[in-house]
Symmetry: C2
Subunit: 123 residues, 2 copies
DNA sequence: ATTCGATATGTTCGGCCGGGAATATCGCAA
DNA sequence: TTGCGATATTCCCGGCCGAACATATCGAAT
């Protein structure tokens, strides 16, 4: 289905500035916006408050040279949001990064997981 | 110098259980313990309170089948700590994972960074 | 003009996470 | 046997983060 699961596997974060990073959360948010055409809907989908979703979008739009998300107020639907070409590029590259990481690191990840205690056996 | 820098590049976290993960922080802590032979010293080195360092160690020792760190109280130096073979294996695999991720993802990471606004020149 | 739903933004409030201090315990060495 | 330094553990407290409310604003459609 979709990637970037939180409760298992590996998570990748690109540290862009000392206090701004791009990880699974923002990537999923971008994807949700692209699919739903709305910041609010994307936020609801991942059980995130609109305020927080909007703050993440605002943060992303700040750190990149061009905004990743364009939003519009008003209209028949009340408003809308969509990814810019830059936003699509960032999302695509992040998803590809996730895939490559999962593949390139499967040996090490497996080696580490094999040493963990829970699940795998009964309990 | 050393790996696993926090303020730049990419960070990898292996989610082991819904609320326990292995990331750069714990890896650096393991490395510090291996080098200093002390939880307290490793914590000081990375400006982390002893309490927090000890809690992280305790957490790691719990999620893995065998402890990653063995600690001893008393003695001429007051006490000591060292990595078990399992601990060394985990640390080695994590470091190798970091390297592989950095290499395998350099294209995507570069593509994303190239779109950011700040510091792209030397600095 | 009124309605509607989403964007945009401020404010408040509670939880919880981590730091710091305090305390106990251990074992070797002097 | 006393001292030392690190491990082990508890308690308190302030700060920060996010949730939840509360508004304000916009624009197309009715």
């Amino acid at each position: 289905m979709e990637t970037g699961n939180k409760t298992t596997g590996v998570r990748v974060r690109i540290v862009l500035t000392p206090d701004v990073a791009l990880g699974p959360g923002k990537a999923d948010l971008l994807e949700g916006i692209a699919e739903s055409g709305s910041i609010a809907a994307a936020g609801r989908r991942m059980k995130m408050s609109y305020k927080r979703a909007w703050m993440l979008v605002e943060e992303m739009n700040r750190v990149f040279r061009e905004p990743l998300v364009l939003s519009a107020r008003g209209g028949s639907k009340g408003g809308s949001a969509q990814l810019t070409p830059t936003g699509q590029t960032v999302l695509e590259n992040y998803r590809r990064l996730q895939d490559r990481v999962a593949e390139a690191g499967q040996g090490e990840i497996g080696a580490i997981r094999a040493l963990t205690r829970d699940m795998s056996d009964g309990k």
